[in-house]
Subunit: 137 residues, 3 copies
């Protein structure tokens, strides 16, 4: 099963918890055992699995990446000023693949799935969710 | 085929070579061609593919991440003092997906699979191994 | 379907756009809906999804990683002088998994697939492309 999710983003850099939406796709797929791949279409966004007790870690992620990859000092900035966003997206990566066990994602208690926006706000980020069954149905 | 591996860790930050355990799961799956996904359940651990000639690169990984992501300076540290561990885990990522060719993982000579512990020691880290066949059996 | 691609690299650190070659494998697989996994065999190379409008972002990637992970200061350098290459490869990672929709990779306009060479030049880097169908054929 494959499904496209659309997510609106509200600032230049922020993380959005999309675990519930992904879990709903997995549930509706009817897959009992397998894998789910979460992929964001866009070279200035990424997918990260991270804690969501509160928003402290999410804010720390934004601050860490700003420190490691400062804005405005890249060759690509001469084109559209978002060189840092591309570098952050490339380093974090656009996808994660998570096991499905007994019809649910095998996330631990503190693992949530986040869309990382590095060049927002955007009216919609497109996320492709692909659920594959171990046993073909 | 899906199998859960349990790995004990012995210090706060260290890498553990789990290649042999993963290879055993792939062998027992009977899958000839396909993919194996290795996923750690836990927001302060990660999976990295890396050389294992000796432990020099593993130690370098710990030192690099300590330098890039120092301890004790994050918002999340006000909660449980492990903000750096979450950031390291998020950046490295909880999973890798490796091709299976002729019943074996297509690792190169110097590629081994490591569990990265960033907030140990832990009695057990749970690693889900999912082996998918190209040809459904 | 599984296929091995061979890529020659020409300098110590550089990115090579392999999108067209991967797309050809996907097309020849006949898979309509599913996933394609791109995996480089080698502990000093990696796969990154990144923009390819021109070579500015690619050059920025090389510069960023040189800054974060300098050459010549690692324990592993006492063995073969490429500790930085291993660390870069481990952080970026050897693989990406991309959805296949209606027979084509679901890359966005600005997403291309790059082989990252961190310890070249090499006569050949081996890249395993695995295309899995959602519906078994």
């Amino acid at each position: 099963m494959q499904k496209l999710l659309l997510v609106k983003t509200f600032s230049r850099e922020s993380l959005y918890d999309i675990t519930r939406e992904i879990a709903a796709v997995v549930a509706s797929s009817g897959v009992h055992s397998g894998l789910v791949n979460i992929y964001v279409r866009g070279a200035t966004a990424a997918i990260m699995i991270q804690e969501n007790w509160d928003d402290s870690v999410q804010t720390d992620v934004v601050h860490l990446l700003r420190k490691l990859i400062p804005k405005g000092v890249w060759l690509h900035d001469q084109q559209d000023g978002n060189g840092d966003a591309h570098l952050k997206a490339g380093l974090v990566g656009p996808q994660e693949t998570v096991p499905v066990i007994q019809g649910k994602m095998a996330l631990s208690t503190w693992q949530n799935i986040f869309l990382c926006e590095f060049d927002g706000p955007r009216d919609q980020r497109e996320i492709v969710v692909t659920v594959m069954s171990l046993i073909s149905t």
